[in-house]
Amino acid sequence: MNEPAPARFAPSGAANRLWRIAGTGLSFVFFGLGALLLGFTIWPLLRLFTLDRRRGIARVQRAVSVSMRLFLWFMETVGVVSTEVHGREKLRERGQFVIANHPTLIDVVILVGLMPEVDCIVKQALWHNVFLRWPVSWAGYISNATGEGLIAACVAALRAGRSLMLFPEGTRTKPGAGLEFQRGAAQIALAAQVPLRPVTITCDPITLFKGNAWYRVPARRAHFVITVGEPILVAEFLAKNEAPPLAARHLTKALTSWFDVSVSQQLREMRRETRPKG
């Protein structure tokens, strides 16, 4: 892993923390205003001027991906976070089922920015959020509230050759606790008979985790490492011919331990690199 470049504009010393608090606040404002602005201009126009609904959605998804990259560039330039991606090219392939662990609020920003077009599964509450209802609507994202229909919708997306992304934890990781995966990801992969592309996200020092106020910035700039892993095949879970609920339980268990190992290894490596310098 590489040494993150120092932030270009951020002051050093005691002022740095204040700078990052202001920078984080500014990022939130930038994000909200950006979502509103684009949500009333470019995104709906892309949909309006594309006759085919699916092609319109794909165009908006690409535009959202560009917006997310721009937003992340902003945060990095201001010096609030730094990121490092391993295996970026693997996420450019289409028609993949991507799953990731979910330590922070901006994981989805990073992932969507790395993928050209992707159907995301997002919580129903976002359709009631003033800022986020526009991107999730125009980009045709899938709501998690649809219950049994949800699995079918996800399988259909994958069968149609589209990419799908979800966080099996269903919500951000509780810091200090082990990973707890819902079974949805396994149910989808087994029903669609597709491999899962795992992405390991670690952030050190941790920031914007669940229940953490945005202005409580960590002692130094948060650094993200994102590693795109090799596909996890489901064939062996299908071959056992177990009833679907059992197969989903076994696959979920396997996925959880895969991520447990991957996350703790990656975190250990990050800390080993930063610790000697204090």
């Binding site: 219950g147 049994e148 699995i151 079974r183 009833a243 679907p244 609920p245 059992l246 989903a248 339980r249």
Partner: protein, 87 residues
């Protein structure tokens, strides 16, 4: 006619077969979702299996208010007791 005790024992067996849930965890008070981690997708499989076992049609509606194992036992009991085939 099955007693609620027999239904309870049978349900224990089904839950262990379908979901590998330890029979000792299955008590009348156990909450299906919170304690036994039976999600909405599992519920579909469970109802299918109960249909086979009881030979009765089951409308998902009849299980809508089921929260605990005890609720499920009562719902199944009502089903096999009086209604020949649900409309």
């Amino acid at each position: 006619m099955q007693s609620t005790q027999e239904i309870f024992e049978q349900l224990r067996k089904v839950l262990s077969e379908l979901f590998e849930i330890e029979p000792s965890q299955v008590t009348l008070e156990a909450h299906l979702y919170n304690d036994l981690e039976i999600d909405s997708i599992d519920t579909i499989d469970l109802i299918l299996r109960l249909k086979e076992l009881t030979g009765r049609k089951i409308q998902p509606d009849q299980f809508r208010h089921v929260r605990t194992v005890g609720d499920a036992v009562n719902a199944i009991h009502a089903l096999v007791q009086n209604k020949p085939a649900a409309a």
